[in-house]
Symmetry: C2
């Protein structure tokens, strides 16, 4: 990419004005579609349409895939119907599925109507799989050969059938009925003598995905087996498509974003933070904030029961934020660690007792540390201030002991809540840091005042 982006845009614009298709091709080919597309997206849509009318279908499809969603949509509107049809028919099946899925249903249906009967069937089949399933990410451009062919026959087959998209890293072996028998890395074909039978290259070990698998599950399979492509088989073990590792990278990032946003205490935005409409974002954030607010109201209720005690020892109120937030922080930590470990499949629900024992131990140690600091802080401070009078040691003991209990309790709640949510069929990431903190705040107050009643009053 030796050219500057601004020059590139101006140059393309001039070439488009002159309809200089040869010049356009020469200019575009050394650019990676992913780099060229954002710049092309900025061109007026009528100019952009010239490009898609004049250039090869392959180049058009490659660039279209990377255009911004709005530009894609507008472009299809200004193209004539046959032009739009040609473009859509040329798109890789998985990219087309993603694009159609983001459109309003009526427009998606109109576009489906433009496809050839064969491509329409493919698109409809893929769109029929649930959102976020492996079926939606499949591509059908794979190579399947038979076990009794020779390597030479396979290579001839590949050459004459001109599979011209997606990866050819894996060759799949099927029987006459289309059932998957094995996957073979293409390098084994390249390294083998041409007369070798495919069966001699087979080792019978392969991993598969089901089209209904959740994409998060697929991610785990990819990570486990270090594959660049995995076959997808139907219930009858027929090979129906493949999924490639580069698409899984997007999945990994989207799934992490979802989890992170939930952990931060809002609904997953499902759109980039910078481009989501303000009202839409406020709605997604407000729902959880209101739930947390209503939950946190219980703190006022809990405290009103201890109003008389509070009036007797105002000093107690000074440490309320400190004490309850420590419980919340310990809970956030535990919840986050457990949620991530669950997402990575590090343990199963039935291991809850092991987790609980760990958190009992960890929570107790953490509580002792914070309790000791809190105790010492008050004892030392009381030398210089009289707000702890008449009994600074009692205040220190109350705060210290309450901290041990609350941090322990927070760690326990934080670690067990995700497991309980998962057991009930909810997403464990729902037990976000703020959610756990809110629960621990209410119970933490009760622990704090109960300790105070025992020690001080």
């Amino acid at each position: 990419m030796p050219v500057q982006a601004s020059n590139f845009k101006a140059e393309i614009s001039t070439l488009l004005g002159n309809k200089d298709y040869a010049g356009l091709k020469a200019k575009l080919v050394p650019w990676l579609p992913a780099d060229a597309a954002p710049i092309l997206s900025e061109l007026p849509v009528e100019q952009l349409a010239v490009l898609f009318r004049g250039c090869s279908k392959e180049l058009g499809a490659a660039v279209f895939t990377y255009l911004e969603h709005g530009a894609k949509h507008k472009l299809l509107k200004v193209l004539t119907q046959p032009q739009a049809a040609a473009l859509l028919n040329e798109l890789p099946a998985d990219d087309r599925t993603t694009f159609l899925n983001e459109l309003p249903l009526d427009i998606a249906m109109q576009l489906l109507g433009l496809l050839t009967p064969e491509e329409r069937k493919i698109a409809q089949d893929l769109l029929a799989y649930p959102e976020h399933s492996v079926g939606r990410m499949m591509t059908l451009d794979y190579v399947a050969v038979r076990s009794d062919w020779t390597v030479r026959e396979c290579l001839d087959f590949i050459r004459t059938h001109g599979y011209d998209r997606e990866t050819l890293n894996m060759i799949f072996v099927t029987d006459a009925g289309g059932h998957l028998l094995d996957d073979i890395r293409v390098r084994r074909f390249l390294l083998a003598e041409p007369d070798t039978k495919v069966s001699a290259l087979m080792d019978g070990n392969y991993a598969t995905l089901a089209p209904t698998d959740d994409r998060e599950k697929a991610l785990g399979v990819f990570r486990r087996y270090d594959r660049v492509a995995l076959p997808v088989t139907g219930p009858d073990h027929k090979l129906i498509g493949i999924v490639t590792a580069d698409d899984m990278l997007d999945v990994a990032s989207e799934e992490a974003t979802e989890d992170i946003q939930k952990l931060g205490g809002s609904e997953a935005l499902d759109e980039p933070y910078t481009t989501i409409a303000l009202t839409k974002m406020v709605k997604k954030r407000a729902s959880w904030l209101v739930v947390l607010f209503l939950g946190e109201m219980l703190t006022a209720t809990a405290m009103s029961y201890f109003e008389d005690e509070l009036a007797k020892a105002i000093v107690l109120s000074l440490f309320i934020p400190l004490v309850i937030s420590s419980g919340g922080n310990a809970g956030s930590q535990a919840a986050t660690l457990v949620i991530r470990a669950l997402a990575l499949g590090e343990f199963k629900l039935r291991d809850w007792w092991r987790i609980m024992r760990r958190e009992l131990a960890a929570g107790f140690m953490l509580g002792l540390i914070l309790g000791a600091i809190g105790f010492l802080r008050i004892v030392i401070w009381s030398r210089f201030s009289h707000i702890y009078d008449p009994s600074p040691l009692k205040v220190a003991t109350t705060v210290g002991a309450a901290l041990v209990g609350i941090v322990l309790w927070g760690s326990l709640m934080g670690s067990m809540l995700p497991l309980i949510l998962k057991r009930l069929g909810f997403d464990p990431a729902t037990s976000s840091a703020p959610f756990v903190a809110t629960l621990v705040d209410v119970t933490g107050l009760i622990i704090y005042f109960s300790v105070a009643l025992l020690v001080m009053l």
Copy 2:
């Protein structure tokens, strides 16, 4: 994988006892190394050593890569020196780098000594790159051809040089000096006529990584270009290795884990939650908890300034947890969204003003919603309770108005803090939900009491 895992283990154990290498091979080949290795890891290390002594180097290397770290280490200790050397020399360079990196330095050095001079040079070069850099993940088993060769010459070259590991999805074109000219998908070789020149297949568009690039940056490049493998070039544009997409999946998951753990308010564990030593985990969690605790102590300081006001209106203390936690929750949301958007490269630091405007608007709306609920709650409750006497409307106004200010303030702090941290060269994920909540707690109390002074006292 038709066999049950328990049978598999017993059968392998028997075959190992009988040193039946042919039987072992027949049993192991249909198993994917990733599935077999965890079961094999459970075998006594002396038995496991029999397997590595008797089976082919390829099978040994494939299984070794997936063994648990402890099993790897123990296995190398019971193998004779030449056996260990053979195994280490056979390992893919990137897997070997990862393994050596996890060992104590002295043992890593001993093992380096076992390598052939050629492999030792490779391993030392890779280990010299910083941790979490692209250099550490590189593999050197790529195919580089010249632009003036024909396809037939390339395929012969591949066949005779028997590149027997990693992917062959991409063929790289270099000049006589080893400088990268292009990357070509292997399918283009397969589809081309044997007499085609490589130069006719070149399009000059390719993306590259530098060995010193951070792996998080590499992840962005992979996501952007949808590649299954990317070339790594040195400062002189010489091709020095490749990185494959399957390895990036592990990176994606590790980077997300790190961010999530930091967002939850602890240091990144760098080890699975289920296997990390308890004391190590407590240490990682305690450091942040203590920092947060010390910060939160300022709440007690802040409140002690308002002790007289508190004594006059105990009812104010009832709403302290509610009011400050709402600010903390709003801040957690904003921080998490901004941190994730930063990690995904959705915006740059210089866009801070756009983000600030968004959060000013969102925070104000969210504050109004919570403020209204809080106001109504107190007004309605005051009909049934006399704790708000003598002036429930004043209490309601104080809480409602403070909520607007605190939620707005929390959203602002939460969104700007990650940007400030990044600007100062820290990881933005450090401004975790608990961290933001703590900061907002202290300032929130001041806002709350200031509003109370204005409205009530």
